[in-house]
Subunit: 525 residues, 2 copies
Amino acid sequence: MSLTGQLLIGQRTVTGTRAEIQATDPATGKPLTPVYPGGGETEVDQACALAEAAFASYRESSLDERAMFLETIASEIEVLGDALITRAMAETGLPRARLEGERGRTCGQLRLFASVVRAGEWLDVRLDPPLPERQPMPRVDLRQRHVALGPVAVFGASNFPLAFSVAGGDTASSLAAGCPVVVKGHSAHPGTSELIGRAVHAAVAKCELPEGVFSLLFGAGNEIGQALVADPRIQAVGFTGSRRGGTALMQTAQRRPQPIPVYAEMSSINPVFLLPEALKNRGKEIAESFVAALTLGAGQFCTNPGLLLGVKGEALDAFLVAAGEAVKASAAQTMLTPGIHGAYEDGVGALAGHDRVREIARGQAGDGPYQCQAALFAAAADDFLADEALQAEVFGASALVVECADLQEMQRVAAHLEGQLTATLQLDDGDLEAAKALLPVLERKAGRVLVDGWPTGVEVCHAMVHGGPFPATSDARSTSVGSSAIRRFLRPVCYQNLPAALLPEALQDANPLDVTRLVDGRREL
Amino acid sequence: MSLTGQLLIGQRTVTGTRAEIQATDPATGKPLTPVYPGGGETEVDQACALAEAAFASYRESSLDERAMFLETIASEIEVLGDALITRAMAETGLPRARLEGERGRTCGQLRLFASVVRAGEWLDVRLDPPLPERQPMPRVDLRQRHVALGPVAVFGASNFPLAFSVAGGDTASSLAAGCPVVVKGHSAHPGTSELIGRAVHAAVAKCELPEGVFSLLFGAGNEIGQALVADPRIQAVGFTGSRRGGTALMQTAQRRPQPIPVYAEMSSINPVFLLPEALKNRGKEIAESFVAALTLGAGQFCTNPGLLLGVKGEALDAFLVAAGEAVKASAAQTMLTPGIHGAYEDGVGALAGHDRVREIARGQAGDGPYQCQAALFAAAADDFLADEALQAEVFGASALVVECADLQEMQRVAAHLEGQLTATLQLDDGDLEAAKALLPVLERKAGRVLVDGWPTGVEVCHAMVHGGPFPATSDARSTSVGSSAIRRFLRPVCYQNLPAALLPEALQDANPLDVTRLVDGRREL
């Protein structure tokens, strides 16, 4: 399949008329063809009109039809073969193995949502049978199910060109919920986006769904994204990216006459608490696994461990030496885009130039133009507490170690943190009491709390929460990874006293969809 | 118990220092003692500080402790006896039977949430067991539960001085979720609020809970409410009232650095579709039951049927005659407040003076100063479609009948409506096809769809949705009535690889709370 540089509006391919975008190969700095002339308000309007038109039938597609659609998208992505991987490598600088793994994750995610759709937990069926004899008033028949919100705007992220992009988690969960999707493709990987978009395109046609179920737009600057979020037909927004970008979309949504949910996953420094026993018993091992996690994928993960906290002393000093050596030995890696590289350099520069921050180590310098040179810094807890700027995310392989006077100060630093996607405890048996004291604080700060291991891996499963209090996300009640993500695009509707002939299938007495139900408050399988 | 005119800040009683509020007996127009000097920023700060301090232990109170607290509140309200009813009658003009019923509903609601807390569905426990042998990567142990958001600000509503006020649905569901509550009492019924507040006060003490679990503030104007919503310790807002009031709180919340959910239940005209067969077969009966619903409680319900749609013709003409006669015969009733009465008169006046609207009938005029004289109007569908002002809620016993040329025009009017709490179909067997065509539109417009009957009764149960798209509410993903209301005050947290000693009780292998769990995607009882 050759790339055309076009927008996909329903089943049509359209050449934009606005300023063009063009990918750069970050390993070489060279532009990649084709160029993608941007869409504007006209294309947003067309895509939203088609999405709205598709919604009526798509939201009531059968569970099996919808699941098969998700599975067909996965198969069509696999059919793209190596062309997808090589284009993604060129556009992102990410290595083959990572992208092959990410493709597996993306297809697995689509298939997980297919199984979630079929299981029907998301319908949250509730039946309260009539009580005609009840005094002083009889109760009529009441039933509840969840329905899709409407067309969803999805913004692709740069750091997961497959798993958080055109057919990533936001798209998969929206489609699973019964919502058509209009994607604003990320400008850093338009070719990868077009390939994936065409795979979804093919799946829509194969499954004979209304064409407006999926559109893919490109555009330079913010115009197209802002127009999309402002469009009255859009009923929810999924975004993964910077705090600035997410905040801008939230503000656009706030100016709408009708408020809509915005699920923006933005900024997190993912604190790791090095508890004393663990640090004493296996500090060197923790240091090495830490640097491996820090530098994985040039640190370009929302869940990258960017902040470590330990109690001052010999064990922490030894940890810093070991981690510093590992950082020094770490090879440079190509970053995703010139912009991300520039922001990383600025962030590292600000830490290096901060008069209360010590540089512990820098990694190997690279040859190419946009290489990430890892960085490790340290600061005292009272200095960290005194300067909010030290909590700013530096996207890339940079981390700050905060040296606390004692466990009480560590607790104070924990309480002082902004909202996070994750919080990690490195602990041994002797640390359990300290961990118990920290846990209630961390639960309020983060969407996921983990012990040992590192936060970078985000399992796509039922119990996952990839979310958390602001600024980690704009809505802590949600997750953007895992099967619970479907809930973001649903709302409950109650049906009172409907004759059987009018009841949606999900609510019929005979339970033809075979879903779990809450009957008069009792859970039934 | 004599009324003191004080604020309840935790277990302290405090006399405010700002402008005072004083209730009016709307039946006589006379002021009621005592006066309530308002609180200001100091009292907001104190209440929020206590709520924040209480949160740490209250959110981890056992299911049984929390349920017993809710039950104790119900008992303490019952202990207030007739003093509560007589004060509420004086402050609201509502009749004894209605208030006794509302007390029953309020206490029943608290006890329902006690049972909801004990059942533990709201924890939404999910376990994904480890898969150590999985290729290419093992899966670690992942578990999810829901936790409380934090302190909640609740705004009492004027029209349900018990069920949507100090210990109403928002308070009950917040406390059930594990969130401390700071109530801004409605200025129309401070005495009723103080009595209920003291009952909660007593329950907090009896249950030996931290005092900050509940505070009750009063204040003239918007200052105290705005300060409360802006306070960084407040993590969610529950509000029932006007569109203007709800919108103002949403805007205050949007100016916070940290966004928080605002659940504002605001404005709905609750369309009723009079389908042709039903209108032909039992138009007179429907007209009479309609006017009974319209005038119930002087129409002062969020779910009052304020808009009817029928197809022009003999049957609709006959319906208008019958409904007009019933309206004419309807007695005047005291409205809740001078302000509500004034707004009702303005709204009815605007309809009466509208050159495309016909007045069908007015009810009996009353003797007192703030009497609701029912009103019924009619307009053609194309005039309704041409003027958004005709969709404005007139709070009270006023309704507009929209005459459609045919079922297609009725469908167009349905599609044109703003978001609603409810939509009702009056139908007979011959109307099923028309109902099937309308249902998908109504599901998108309303939180509850009902057949026959009238929307005014809102059952407190598991399947209820008292919510709906904007402007019915600010967040269509939620309900403010029924057991699902607890979800508004919760967020998910994932626990990865925690040793058994650190796992919250809800997530322990042995399932000591005996809750339903989703294990590897399969529902278990």
